[in-house]
């Protein structure tokens, strides 16, 4: 059974602080996606990483895929209240398109 452990589950910080969210697994994924979900909506894709060691930047967000393609991290620099939401990592396995999701990180950024 593939599992994706995401931490922390809850994070409450002040505006301007930095934070990192981690996703770890004992399984190798062909790719890993990060999604953000707002209340009452479906997850919206932020980024896909496919190559071990890959780093992608999206404004103040930096995503990294581990060398062995078993783990990933999301780092947010100078968090803003608009970053508040649920962040989900999801790993794709080779068999079909099934995504294995982490438990999610509920981020609250206070002004």
């Amino acid at each position: 059974t593939q599992l994706l452990e995401q931490s922390p589950q809850f994070l409450s910080i002040q505006e301007g602080e930095n934070l990192t969210v981690y996703c770890n697994s004992s399984s190798v994924f062909s790719s890993l996606q990060w999604y953000r979900q707002e209340p009452g909506e479906g997850p919206v894709l932020l980024v896909t990483v496919v190559t071990g060691g890959e780093v992608k930047k999206l404004k103040r967000l930096t995503f990294q895929f581990g060398d062995a393609r078993k783990d990933s991290s999301l780092h947010i620099t100078a968090a803003q209240p608009g970053d508040t939401g649920l962040y989900l990592c999801a790993g794709a396995i080779n068999q079909g398109g099934k995504l294995i999701f982490g438990q999610g990180t509920e981020l609250s950024v206070k002004p």
Partner: protein, 113 residues
């Protein structure tokens, strides 16, 4: 439409009743996925379709759950004899083909009383 749509957006039903949830994927997308999101469980895979066939239905929790897809487009997820533990948000996603980016709909919030 431009995105994945799901209906109804909310459904309240009584225990023991059957419910049907509908998903309209992005036009032209051949792959369609159903997930369930519940408190404490996160997002769980239920089933996916490639065209009208379902190569992987390993996530369906019990034989009360079934899904079909017709014409390579619309899909329905049916839950028979609903139980309170079926209460969750049911999310549908589609992708241009298997293993490509999945785009999610807004979900159907199901509450079983």
């Amino acid at each position: 439409g431009a995105g994945v749509s799901q209906s109804p957006s909310n459904k309240v039903t009584e225990k023991g009743k059957d419910v049907e949830l509908r998903c309209d994927p992005i036009s032209g997308h051949t792959a369609l996925y159903w997930y369930r999101q519940s408190l404490g469980q996160g997002l769980e895979f239920l089933i996916y379709f490639q065209g009208n066939s379902a190569p992987d239905k390993s996530g369906l929790p019990s034989d009360r759950f079934s899904a079909e897809r017709t014409g390579g487009s619309v899909s329905t997820l049916t839950i028979q004899r609903t139980q309170q533990e079926d209460s969750a948000v049911y999310l549908c996603a589609s992708s241009a083909s298997v293993q490509e980016t999945q785009y999610f709909g807004p979900g159907t919030r199901l509450l079983v009383l």
